[in-house]
């Protein structure tokens, strides 16, 4: 069943239909929030609140796609979160290690696993170092896989702005990753290594 059917039923007060929408979007929405705010508890709070607000307001949703609308709610909550943190101070760091889905991926070598973990940590830090507008753009694109027009709808900005933010964000992340050639060798270095 596609979103439109479920949204139609949810608009008529069908909780079961909305629960199916939650099941469908809980992981991508949570991961968007997690990559934005960093802490799993804050991310879960944001995702929970986004679903609650969506449920309360779903009658107002007309022709806009549910997915963009839901992510827009969550994006606004992320910005609310940043405003609160700026006002009240930084929250303690959260453990990032739990509840990672690794199903079906075999990483037999402990050293490989350790390196992958180090790479992922560096990527997370590089994303977190981005300014918020760039951060959310690159997350919606590269974590959530949204198309540019969907991102423009979520962020309510022109397509050109989306393009620019994603490009600048990627360039900044790339710059940080390239400071660790042991973990992220450049393609030219890889070619050199293969040639040897």
């Amino acid at each position: 069943m596609d979103d439109r059917d479920l949204v139609g039923r949810a608009r008529r007060g069908d909780r079961e239909a909305f629960t199916q929408l939650i099941v469908q979007y809980q992981v991508p929405l949570y991961n968007m929030a997690l990559r934005m705010v960093g802490g799993p508890d804050d991310a879960a709070d944001i995702a929970q609140e986004a679903f609650l607000r969506a449920w309360e307001k779903i009658r107002t949703l007309r022709d806009a796609p549910f997915k963009s609308w839901l992510f827009q709610i969550a994006a606004n909550l992320c910005y609310d979160h940043f405003r609160r943190v700026r006002r009240y101070g930084v929250m303690p760091d959260e453990d990032q290690t739990g509840n990672v889905v690794g199903l079906g991926i075999a990483t037999p070598d402990p050293q490989e696993r350790a390196e992958a973990s180090e790479r992922n940590q560096l990527v997370r830090e590089s994303i977190e170092a981005l300014e918020h507008d760039m951060r959310i753009a690159i997350i919606l694109r590269d974590v959530n896989g949204l198309a540019y027009d969907e991102i423009a709808r979520v962020l309510r900005v022109p397509l050109g702005t989306v393009k620019s933010r994603i490009a600048r964000a990627r360039a900044q992340v790339q710059e940080r990753l390239q400071q660790h050639p042991d973990l992220f060798p450049t393609s030219s270095a890889q070619k050199d290594a293969h040639a040897e």
């Binding site: 991961n31 609650l52 449920w55």
Partner: protein, 269 residues
């Protein structure tokens, strides 16, 4: 004089990035492709952007440590505040999961931070529908989960130290796909200064869903009880079938030794 082959204008950073995502119009996509084919420097720039995008996409997707629910009744307009800041108040406002998630309990006497539950796995009290998923407190005698009768159980014993045990129990062997799975995990043989972590997986045919747990405890009576709304779990279709509920306890001491308790359950259509 022969004319030099025309090299299309060097693409901007924005164009290269959008090219990577196939987000340029057909003309621009072709122009960038032409240029990149003849320009080593731009190929390198493009490779760098591609590697970066792949590195981000390779981040593992995390599963939330709790399920998301909607209240039985639409709430009145309220200002949101994160639970981490004013936990109890936020919990009351949200009217969602009451209970414990990611508990860190250190010692049998540790106070639980949970509210007493008004509904057990089978349904809510006071005529209200139970939230879709509830996480119950560790077994300290609070919470309606303690009212469940755990009829389906298995225990494994550490072969090197028979006092160390791991028991996983459920309140039924068969559940409807919209039912609530009540689980009790008991860890035996821990010293009062030892802590442990128990993970729970619901698995079938190599695919597993990790169930969030209030899984840390210490002392001889460590353990927890929890209820999981099956409809909210990302189980593969068809949902009905035979599953294994697996509890995994990493034994203290850092040796890597692990107890694994497996309990078959069935989900019916």
């Amino acid at each position: 004089m022969p004319s030099k082959p025309r090299i299309p204008t060097e693409p901007t950073l924005e164009e290269l990035s959008a090219y990577l995502d196939h987000e340029l119009d057909a003309g621009a996509q072709a122009r960038v492709a032409d240029h990149v084919a003849g320009c080593a420097e731009c190929r390198t720039r493009l490779d760098g952007l591609r590697q970066t995008a792949y590195a981000i996409r390779a981040l593992p997707m995390a599963t939330p440590a709790r399920a998301f629910t909607i209240p039985a009744q639409r709430r009145q307009a309220s200002r949101w505040a994160p639970a981490g800041w004013i936990g109890g108040v936020a919990a009351a406002l949200l009217i969602v999961i009451v209970g414990v998630n990611q508990l860190h309990v250190h010692g049998p006497g540790a106070a639980s931070s949970t509210s007493a539950l008004s509904g057990g796995p089978a349904g809510g009290a006071n005529g209200h529908a139970a939230p879709a998923t509830q996480y119950f407190a560790p077994d300290r005698g609070v919470g309606a989960a303690s009212k469940a009768v755990y009829v389906n159980a298995t225990t494994v014993v550490d072969p090197r130290d028979a006092s160390r045990t791991l028991t996983v129990s459920t309140d039924a062997r068969t559940y409807p796909s919209n039912g609530t799975l009540a689980v009790q995990v008991q860890v035996g043989g821990l010293a009062s200064n030892e802590t442990t972590v128990v993970r729970l997986l619901l698995e079938r045919n190599g695919y597993a869903v990790e169930l969030p747990t209030g899984s840390q405890g210490s002392g001889s009576a460590a353990g927890f009880q929890a209820g999981y709304a099956l409809a909210n779990l990302p189980l593969s279709s068809p949902v009905s079938g035979s599953y294994t509920l697996t509890a995994i306890e990493q034994l203290p001491g850092g040796s890597g030794a692990t107890l694994v308790a497996r309990l078959p359950i069935t989900i019916s259509g």
